[in-house]
């Protein structure tokens, strides 16, 4: 096992070129807080990105920040916060779920396309990402996109590599458009709705002109005995007062609205973003399912009927289901895959024992896109040295 710690893109490119020459597979490691994600793989070599670090550009008036791949998310967020700005997509922190320590890196966030509750309003990580630099599997440093918000020059490889889990290249620099932090943020809470009614309420809210920036439903038993349906409002204070009143009228038939603010509000959304409600017991397997919101409750009911002990909650207005199941057998993969096939969407087994992840598909099977996926892998990494098999066998 060899660990490389390049301090620059040039050094990283040379290391990769050397590995490519011998065809030696390599794992790319940032903060290693998500090491348990994906199919288990073993490589002789690891490249740590941690020494390729630092903010390279922050122009607050242009709403843009760039950082080298190994920069910690905490550093990026602190630099932005100092200018009253933030990453729009609210990246998930997996440390609670995986029981890991260490510092998540901004390159790791892009590699997994990790987006939090604000995804429904401000887009995913890939939507905020406006440029990347990376080293491909041939040991070449390449760029895509840039530092301006509107850019349609050539193929958008920046999006293509977002969420590719290091299988296409080693991210050396990422550039984002950012947003001002809202003046005020608060949560509207409605209690005691069942899943179907809750998603209907969230759909009504998201279909209103009053722009919730997050919408989730926590069924009874997740942290509290009663079900909690929550909406987050952010913006100027005057505007929020108005919108609270509008939501009270709009959602009157769903129940009383309670307003939460301060840590009561931010703590709740941190819990949603980081899936804290399902972190324990730590041996439970965790699925992440994206589907159309209105089809989610039915899909979940079907899974729950077949999998005793299943627990879940909904983010993204109902369209993102986090599901915990007992870890035995195939971690309910057969049931989950069948339910998702009916509902439409995709499912990822985020947390499960190693032997389970080794024996079943962790990511949504590719179907008709398998051949093109393999071709794209080859175009970046002909020797298949980067994270071989972490997403899909042969990729």
């Amino acid at each position: 096992m060899t660990l490389f710690t390049p301090t620059s893109e040039t050094e990283a490119a040379q290391i990769v070129a050397d590995l490519a020459l011998t065809g030696k597979p390599v794992t790319i490691q940032g903060g290693a807080t998500r090491a348990g994600f994906g199919r288990p793989i073993q490589t002789e070599a690891t490249i740590s990105t941690r020494a390729i670090s630092g903010i390279t550009l922050h122009e607050p008036a242009e709403l843009v920040i760039a950082a080298r791949g190994g920069t910690s998310v905490a550093e990026v967020e602190a630099v932005l916060a100092a200018k009253n700005q933030m990453l729009p997509f609210e990246p998930m922190d997996h440390r609670t779920l995986f029981g890991t320590s260490g510092e998540p890196t901004i390159g790791g966030v892009v590699a997994g396309n990790h987006s939090g509750p604000r995804r429904i309003q401000a887009g995913a990580c890939r939507d905020s990402l406006i440029g990347v630099r990376l080293v491909n599997g041939r040991g070449e440093a390449i760029k895509s996109g840039g530092r301006v918000m509107k850019n349609v020059t050539g193929l958008d490889l920046a999006k293509l590599v977002t969420g590719s889990w290091g299988t296409l290249g080693l991210l050396t620099e990422v550039t984002f458009k950012v947003l001002p932090r809202p003046e005020r943020s608060l949560t509207l809470l409605i209690k005691n709705l069942d899943d179907g009614r809750a998603v209907a309420a969230l759909s009504a809210a998201l279909g209103s002109p009053f722009e919730p920036t997050a919408a989730a439903h926590l069924p009874a038993g997740l942290g509290r005995p009663v079900a909690r349906t929550i909406l987050r409002l952010e913006g100027f204070s005057v505007s929020l007062e108005y919108r609270i009143a509008q939501f009270r009228a709009l959602l009157a038939s769903y129940g009383e609205i309670i307003v939460l603010e301060g840590e009561d509000s931010t703590g709740l959304w941190r819990g949603v973003r980081n899936v804290e409600f399902l972190a324990a017991p730590e041996d439970a397997a965790i699925w992440r399912i994206s589907t159309a919101p209105t089809r989610a409750p039915g899909m979940v009911a079907g899974i729950a009927a077949a999998v005793p002990g299943a627990r879940w909650f909904y983010d993204w207005g109902g369209g993102l289901v986090w599901l915990a199941v007992p870890p035995g057998g195939d971690a309910a993969a057969t049931t989950v895959r069948a339910a998702v096939a009916t509902a439409g969407g995709h499912a990822t087994l985020v947390r499960a024992p190693r032997e389970v992840r080794a024996s079943i598909d962790v990511f949504q099977p590719l179907g008709a896109l398998a051949a093109v996926t393999g071709g794209i892998k080859t175009s970046f990494d002909p020797g298949r040295i980067f994270e071989p098999g972490r997403m899909y066998a042969g990729v």
């Binding site: 008036a61 242009e62 890939r126 840039g146 958008d156 969420g163 003046e183 209105t294 949504q364």
Partner: protein, 478 residues
């Protein structure tokens, strides 16, 4: 632009025209196949009219199955294909070539499904951008990206070019508003990419496909996000005595944590041209105009405007005029969105489309001024100020070959300037043929080779829209 070369037509394909036409005739109804010269004429160019090429034939399929059959036939016969939406590309994205079949999706213009609860609509590729909003606006919804050509341009073309518009400061561009695509690959295979849920599994093919300029396949259907319209929207005109004051005001507004839904800039020449056309009440004495639009309830808009006006005053604004009615709002936007058309009434022009870091605005405006003066030309500047997307319109006389060449050279110099200051060659129009040979200014060989290897995964023989995007020299396979 007359200097931009097309690949030499493959004479062996042109000689096979009769058998190619017969093959196509067996695949689609007679009315879907255009072969007569006078009927082909409207397809010999798009909105970049400087380039005209007569294609072998035009096919206008009505179904995904027909697109599939035609693509499969062309790929097996080794015939290049040029996909076409509504033909409104300003960069020659759908300029044909003599040895190619044009596949136009204009007949596939149905809205297939609207789902308000999940806030999506499924549409065919030939539906116009504005027709999507038209289908949902009675229920209070809209489709966000709004290119100026939205009345005519197709969603298929928007997807090919990753089109933007005036309101993308808040709502993003095409790629941020598409959830799923039905794509016909060159071999005729039909694949679904994404769906009506957020984000797709595996590699982000949606991100790759959107903006790929018809080089990876032909999109026949799309699932788009529809959004609930704000309660109200109000554009306000801000006249400034100096361009740099307008630029500074934009930076200060963003710096104050305010993201208006649109911030549009026009210089004195653009103001005069658009006011003459739209009678929108633009301040004729201003050197620079910002149209800033806010959204929300009356009270929310008032609140935002108080903040914005205060900032504008600190930056020397001389005129502030709020729209007082829906009619005034329409006139204000009509003027801006007709900027290209109105300019076309007074002179021929080349419309450039670069993006720059907004902090470079004063420098770039000054340099553009110097460049056009150097070439002895005039320029009207309109642009999306919030995101740095410039549209300098270089005016010239098309009947004067010397001046035309100067205008083309000047336009290319402006784009080089955009790259030089940290921006890019195209913000929302695409590369097409117009900027193809400038790609090496923005990208090095390794960057371009990686893009071309990805392209070749979908089209190893370079049959799909082959004259576009990548310089003709140095093309690589997968």
């Amino acid at each position: 632009m007359s200097a931009i070369a097309f690949p030499a037509p493959d004479m062996s394909i042109i000689r096979r025209r009769p058998e190619i036409l017969a093959g196509l005739a067996a695949l689609v109804p007679a009315e879907a196949l255009i072969t007569a010269e006078d009927e082909l004429r409207p397809y010999e160019s798009d909105a970049l009219t400087a380039f005209r090429k007569m294609p072998l034939a035009v096919v206008l399929p009505s179904t995904t199955e027909e697109v599939s059959a035609v693509l499969k036939f062309c790929s097996e016969a080794g015939v290049p294909v040029v996909p076409r939406g509504a033909g409104t590309s300003l960069v020659g994205g759908s300029t044909p070539q003599e040895d190619a079949v044009v596949i136009g999706v204009a007949k596939m213009s149905r809205i297939l499904d609207i789902d308000y609860a999940n806030r999506t609509a499924r549409v065919q590729a030939g539906v116009t951008n504005l027709a999507i909003t038209g289908a949902v606006q009675a229920d209070g919804f809209f489709y966000a990206p709004d290119p100026s050509s939205q009345l005519a341009c197709s969603i298929g073309g928007n997807i090919a070019m990753n089109s933007g518009g005036a309101h993308c400061l808040k709502y993003g561009v095409t790629t941020n508003n598409i959830l799923g695509l039905k794509l016909v690959l060159l071999n005729g295979d039909v694949v679904e990419i994404g769906g009506d849920h957020l984000d797709m599994p595996g590699f982000d093919m949606l991100g790759l496909l959107i903006g790929s300029e018809g080089q990876l396949g032909i999109v026949t259907e799309a699932t788009v996000r529809i959004l609930r319209s704000a309660e109200g929207a109000r554009p306000v005109l801000f006249g400034f005595p100096k361009p740099e004051l307008a630029g500074e005001a934009v930076a200060a507004i963003i710096g104050a944590g305010i993201i208006p839904v649109a911030m549009e800039y026009m210089d004195k020449m653009a103001i005069a041209i658009c006011e003459d056309f739209a009678k929108a009440g633009y301040p004729m004495d201003a050197e620079a105009l910002l149209i800033i639009e806010v959204e929300g309830s009356e009270q929310e808009m008032d609140d935002q405007l108080v903040r914005i006006i205060e900032i504008a005053k600190r930056h020397g604004v001389t005129t502030v005029r709020e729209s007082k009615s829906a009619m005034e709002t329409a006139a204000i936007w009509k003027g801006r969105k007709s900027a290209f058309g109105a300019t076309g009434k007074i002179a021929d022009y080349i419309c450039m489309d670069g993006t720059i870091p907004t902090g470079q605005l004063p420098h770039v405006l000054k340099r553009i001024d110097e460049l056009v003066t150097h070439y002895g030309l005039r320029v009207a500047n309109v642009f999306h100020a919030g995101d740095g997307n410039l549209h300098p319109l270089v005016l010239y006389d098309i009947n004067d070959p010397v001046e035309r060449q100067k205008a083309e050279d000047c336009g290319l110099d402006i784009l080089r300037l955009c790259v030089e200051v940290g921006g890019c060659l195209t913000g929302e129009h695409g590369v097409g043929v117009e900027k193809r040979d400038l790609m090496t200014v923005q990208f090095n060989k390794a960057d371009l080779d990686q893009q071309m290897r990805v392209r070749s995964v979908f089209d190893p023989a370079w049959l799909l829209n082959p004259a576009k995007v990548f310089p003709l020299e140095g093309r690589v396979a997968a």
